[in-house]
Symmetry: C2
Subunit: 619 residues, 2 copies
């Protein structure tokens, strides 16, 4: 998840090393505190209770009782280790480091002498290794192990998990590759992980194997164990020829992230061109407004173009995370601010809704409309999302800054202190609750370099001011570049006007027709029934977008949010209760005007059961 | 499927005997000709080719090769036999009767000495009878055998199939029932079939067993072999307590039809009350405008309330048929014209789309929007729909008339001659292409009786005229009752004004918001790209409902249809191509006005590949 590419890569921008950025306040620092205090210990307990660790102990012939499925239980362990490693990078933490070392011991003990490691096959089907690559998850689990090992090594300098990962990677490299077995992994993940393992170890075989796995897709190498078919597995066409995101959304997006990692290292044009086509398909045809992906429950899959339903959509939390990983790599490769803005969309909406404010409850599925009855459970039988949330929150600062030879780019606005190649950068802000961003520089080199600030497309009228100079207009949807010989204590203030705005959907989309969604900065808002007048049925609301929207900062609400109050009302419930279709042209429905209260989508379902709605019909 | 209830039943209305109604022209007679000339022979061939008949021969130890699944292959044979029997009721047909007798011989030979008959278990799992009631289809296949046997007996007077059916029914009655096994069948069908078998044989055990199966649901008797869960099987609550149609749509609707058949015979109030609640749920929450049911592909299932998507909906042809069967029984029980109107909605739209104009291609799934790439195949691996279409078309006249002690009710307008309890009724019309319905009476008894004519709710301004008397207004959405001592040659002319109209959807439905569907009489219309100006992308059309709709009778188009021409146009494709969401309040999209040409929905996909759309966004 954390990316650390070499200077020799073909990327336009460089990420910052893991320890170079520290959050120092704001909503994400608060989330990281909860992540450390609540979520990581919760995950540690669940890995014990749900049997993940016992599965690995069984593989080491030290466990008790029955093996517990699903087949990819090991990967939850690895994602938790990765998350905990990022937390350790934040500073000394003996308790957490003890848990990490304990879990790594369990993992290491499970590894076989030849490097193979997958508790499911070791315990249940020792003779069936690598026989069901499309449906089972050996290579997927391996990928998460590699990511965890890289994170652990970067965070602690310890090789305990990295050595396990390299032994498994070497084993896999002995089984798969040119002249060996050629087969596309059913669930992508190992591709991006192998590239990261290459970056951490310098072992080029790992990069070559990542490219090999990417190249296998669309070659008819899958053995057809799985009835879901080739499109579900992104195996109907090659990665370079694909022009539509299809099938299982997380698989598609992990594959895209892996292909981009290969592209970042190789710069091969057809691979990059294919990814840009797929991004266009995703962002202009198959994305929900919260930056979530996967319209269908069936197959956890992308739907048809413009099939973007509100209630029956899937939008798995892992898919939003995967989209952020993909957009991050697209950003590094190109320097194009659009990718940072799409990352931001998922981050503040479809990803963040995946975890409760208390840090101990998780959404797998993130609908845009619920009549009620939906709550985040503590854990899942298929628990891919909770540890994915943990690792994402623990390394969120990674997405804030990039750098290159010419300067530093601020991609996301979080209060932080960063050590860059050109200077120390301190960012002070309360974004996205407020649009004033204050940057202070120190440790400047004395050379001229460019400080580039991303101005989101939804912020027309932004201005930037350096020290006491006159404010400059900063164009929306672009990087505002300030080039000069920066001096210590130079201060830059970016003013992003975060006025509430109404969003409309493409007219080709049924689900958003004649409806509007309310937004404030990067945050998509929703109505929750708990905030409305008693008896309000969210099925019957309408909005009047001509009325001004009132903005109210509420420090005590939902962990400190900006609440919005919009004009609108209710259609008469009894006039719509008893019919579905009727001849058009009759009398208009009776309406009762009332104010509607909206809160950020990510914060929904934190105050008991109730209805929630994002897209609101127009008057 | 054909219902023949006794005078002692609790129904308000009586259906007419099978041979009492003969079509004599019009679109349905044409469909029946194609059914006899093309579809039934096509089905007969497919039963041979697809292995259905060989499966039964294997059960009789006379077949060759492998058994072929799915598990309910026998039911296709029975539905074909039922369809062919209705065709035989139309008049002598030695060729068809020969096929029927041949197929019945195959069925009879397969039956075991103890009466058991299900080729799947007999051939593959002879020791596993009745072990997987929820997932497998022994009782479902039995039900279709009973329906076929009853139809064959009514049509031909032969007992060859009826005897097989009774032996199997007796066998099942020996296995299931109070004090024996109590389990709800996973796929309802046997309930309504047992009631019909009771009606045909007078054997009250069959009625009791039907009621027993209805009563089992919601009692936790299903053994949980099937992972789909209790709601999928309508087993979460009892039939009497249910207030929402849920789960697999065909299962739900067959169950409803069976429960209504039991209610018709018993008149038990809680059963009837439950059915009325379920009908309200179906018709005001979960029905697509074409009278199709089942919003979701996953589980072939009903969606949530108001979840009625256009492209991703399922609307299995069998579900529309099942809805017609249910509405027919609701009509018989109550005499309420609403049920006949809902039957009509499914009949002319979501059912009829299930078969091509050439009679040899079938839709299983019936979407309301397709960007193209959809065609009716010749048959299906899961071929429940094609023979279901055959039997429905072959007995369509059954739905035209009802009678009771007070008179005759005309429920559907088809050109026909009928022998009723009060007179011979001849109907001459070209409905739904034209709204003039002419009825001529003969063989009148000399007593006073009521001729009741159903006036659809979509026909305000209808009038009725008896002989040369002054026209009377006939209220829409009700039965127009004319009571008098009718004389031979009395003529009644009903004038239904079939003006084109725009239909709107309930504002709680996302998929139809700010969109209209065009209709003419009972027919829902659609746009097909083949009829529009070259290059028209149906994703970008809008309609202007303020403009008049032109009506054009086209005898040579799609088997003779009324074509409609509406005002509307196209949004600029290039202005909507590259985004999904944007801030509301920008410049309006460019539009190009153009006329839009609509044809009946049922006739779509008969002229090669292309896009189709029912719900059209408003200007």
């Amino acid at each position: 998840m954390h990316v650390q590419i070499g200077q020799a890569s073909k990327a336009r921008l460089q990420p910052l090393p893991l320890q170079s950025v520290r959050l120092c306040g704001g909503m994400w620092r608060q989330r990281q505190r909860i992540n450390r205090a609540v979520t990581l210990p919760h995950g540690y307990r669940k890995l014990h209770e749900a049997g993940n660790l016992n599965n690995l102990r069984l593989a080491a012939e030290a466990g008790e009782g029955e093996y517990r499925t699903p087949v990819f239980m090991d990967s939850d362990v690895y994602k938790w280790l990765e998350a905990a490693s990022y937390a350790l990078a934040d500073g000394p933490d003996p308790e957490l480091e003890g848990w990490v070392d304990e879990v790594i011991e369990v993992v290491a003990a499970a590894q076989m002498a030849d490097g193979y490691l997958d508790s499911y096959y070791q315990v249940l089907y020792p003779d069936k290794r690598w026989t069901n690559i499309d449906h089972d998850h050996e290579l997927y689990c391996a990928g998460h192990l590699f990511e965890a090992a890289v994170a652990h090594h970067r965070a602690t300098g310890k090789r305990s998990l990295l050595d396990v990962a390299c032994r498994l990677a070497d084993h896999i490299d002995g089984v798969f590759g040119p002249g060996k077995r050629g087969e596309a992994p059913g669930h992508p993940e190992i591709e991006l992980a192998l590239v990261e393992l290459y970056r951490e170890t310098g072992e080029r075989r790992y990069l070559a194997l990542a490219q090999f796995f990417v190249d296998q897709r669309g070659q008819g190498t899958m053995r057809g164990h799985d009835r879901m078919g080739p499109a579900y597995h992104q195996d109907a066409v090659t990665v370079r020829d694909a022009d539509e995101v299809v099938g299982h959304a997380v698989r598609q997006l992990y594959l895209c992230a892996g292909a981009m990692d290969v592209y970042i290292e190789t710069g091969e044009p057809p691979l990059g061109d294919g990814q840009r086509r797929l991004w266009h398909s995703a962002v202009t045809r198959k994305q929900h407004v919260i930056g979530g992906y996967g319209a269908r429950h069936a197959g956890e899959a992308f739907g048809a173009e413009y099939e973007l339903p509100n209630e029956s959509c899937y939008l798995e939390t892992c898919a939003a995370i995967a989209a952020m990983m993909w957009n991050w790599r697209l950003l590094l490769a190109s320097g194009d601010a659009r990718y940072a803005e799409e990352l931001e969309r998922s981050l503040y909406n479809g990803f963040l809704s995946g975890v409760s404010l208390d840090g101990a409850h998780f959404f797998y599925v993130n609908p845009l409309w619920s009549p009620g009855g939906i709550a985040r459970p503590e854990w899942y039988g298929c628990a891919c999302c909770p540890p994915n949330v943990m690792r994402q929150i623990a390394m969120i600062s990674h997405y804030a800054l990039t750098q290159d030879a010419s300067g530093v780019q601020v991609q996301q606005y979080l209060p932080l202190k960063a050590e860059t190649a050109h200077a120390q950068v301190a960012v002070d802000c309360d974004y996205p609750r407020d649009g004033r961003i204050e940057l202070t520089l120190s440790g400047c080199s004395g050379d001229a370099w460019t400080l580039a600030l991303r101005v989101p497309s939804f912020c027309p009228g932004a201005t930037v001011r350096v020290n006491d100079e006159a404010p400059l207009p900063a164009a929306a949807g672009a990087m505002m570049e300030l080039t000069r010989v920066w001096r210590d204590s130079d201060k830059v203030v970016l003013d992003l006007p975060l006025a509430p705005r109404w969003i409309e959907g493409n007219p080709r989309v049924d689900a958003t027709r004649w409806a509007l969604a309310l937004a404030y900065g990067p945050l998509v808002y929703c109505l929750e029934s708990v905030d409305q007048a008693p008896g309000t049925d969210l099925r019957d609301v309408y909005v009047d977008a001509e009325q001004p929207v009132q903005v109210e900062r509420c420090p005590d609400l939902l962990g400190d949010v900006v609440r919005l109050r919009a004009g609108g009302g209710l259609n008469s419930a009894h006039e719509v209760e008893d019919w579905l279709y009727r001849t058009w042209g009759g009398p208009a429905l009776s309406r009762q005007p009332m104010a509607l209260v909206a809160v950020p989508y990510y914060a929904w379902a934190n105050r008991g059961d109730g209805a929630m709605r994002v897209w609101l019909p127009r008057r």
